[in-house]
Amino acid sequence: MNLLEKLDASAAARKALLPDGVGAFGIPIEEVYSATEARIGDRRVLLLGTNNYLGLTFAPECIRAAHEAIDKEGTGTTGSRMANGSYFGHRSLEREFADFYQCDSAIVFTTGYQANLGTISGLVGPGDTVLIDGDSHASIYDGCVLSGADIIRFKHNDTIDMEKRLRRLGDRVETTLIIAEGIYSMLGDQAPLADIVKLKNAYGCILLLDEAHSLGVLGETGQGLVETTGLLKEVDFITGTFSKSLCSIGGYCVSNHPQLEQLRYVSHPYIFTASPSPATIASTRAALELLRKGSHLRKQLWQNCTQLYTQLKEVGYLLGPHPGPVIAAIVDTPRQALLLWQNLLEHNIYVNLILPPAAPEGKSLVRCSVNAAHTTEQIKYVGDTFCKLRSLVC
């Protein structure tokens, strides 16, 4: 098979999962009306498949800051952080992140994907080991591959399994990086952080926690799982993204280890890419301020999550173990998932469709993401529609 034929073969495998004409992936959004509504084709749909957890995509403070930055500093930095791309805004945002996490250093990356690539490949290399959760995000896997370290997986959220693998590593634990996520994006479940911290201390490893989905969502000030568990000081490195609760694009890593600064000189995903645009940085800074003060947004978000999670559970949908902004209905076959997804769209509700092997355990997911801007009525409509369609996936 030549290179192009290999792509044809993977296209054929995709078509076998999705009949012709069903554009479940990369669906064209024609117009965006608000944090909760958009137009797909000629339908006005409710958006239940975005990562806009605090509903800040149209926050006037963020829009104003972005406009001002474009007017003052132009559309792009046209260079790397290492060269001409470290403006006052980039450095300020780093200080603000360090202050937010009450820690010494923060680095801003161009995307959250690169924050993981850059941090992991900066921390470990050939001969070292990364011990990662089996359900880790692709950016974590790719960061590990880029690093050249030995990659060992443990069973998702299973610290007994994790300890077994740590024990097998013997002396190699000294150069082992453990990686977990605050909230996992597939089922919305949270890492057992207290047990992970116990093990990392017992074995003397370094711990990296990706708070991509938990930033702004968990904790009184929105720090994430480190805040709800009171374990901020126990986690060595925290990475995260601007592309979810902060409603822009970019990523960060924070730490109390002074060695974090060295990543600026060794980490290719930090060095060999242009820095975030001035408008991106400005809206992110404004959003971080709203996030920190946003307990009312978190309260509304959790009210919405609990309402939908409870309603779907009551009518018998199989869901992830923790209620939260990511609510995934787990179904047995891709066909059932596709049918439910299509019917929801016909009822003007857009959610995410996730098919194997992206979904865990060979299952398929119809995944909702709830946000703070959804009204009680909107959430009720979504819940009622799921109830009406329940028989499609029985």
């Binding site: 080991t129 591959v145 990659i151 060992i152 997986r153």
Partner: protein, 84 residues
């Protein structure tokens, strides 16, 4: 580790692969794990975890880049087990 151990590893791999494969291909040491057995990447990674537990070893998943056939997987497991 002896030849017997190697054969034991090979037999165990064939049995486990048969369990997770979606195809009716007769599994031999030369069978290509991904292309002939239609085993997706995650199923293979989960199988590796099981094999780690069976032999009480660590198999780094990056080592799988050199593995295409059942024999190559058996060689890898044998090499790690022998060194442990």
């Amino acid at each position: 580790m002896t030849e017997n151990n190697y054969n034991e590893i090979m037999k165990l791999l064939c049995d486990r692969l048969e369990g997770v494969s979606n195809s009716n291909v007769q599994i031999t040491s030369e069978t290509n794990i991904i292309s002939q057995l239609s085993i997706d990447s995650i199923k293979l990674l989960n199988l590796i975890m099981e094999i780690e537990d069976t032999f009480d070893i660590s198999i780094p998943i990056n080592a799988l880049t050199d593995v295409q056939t059942v024999r190559e997987l058996a060689d890898l497991v044998y090499k790690i087990k022998s060194a442990s």
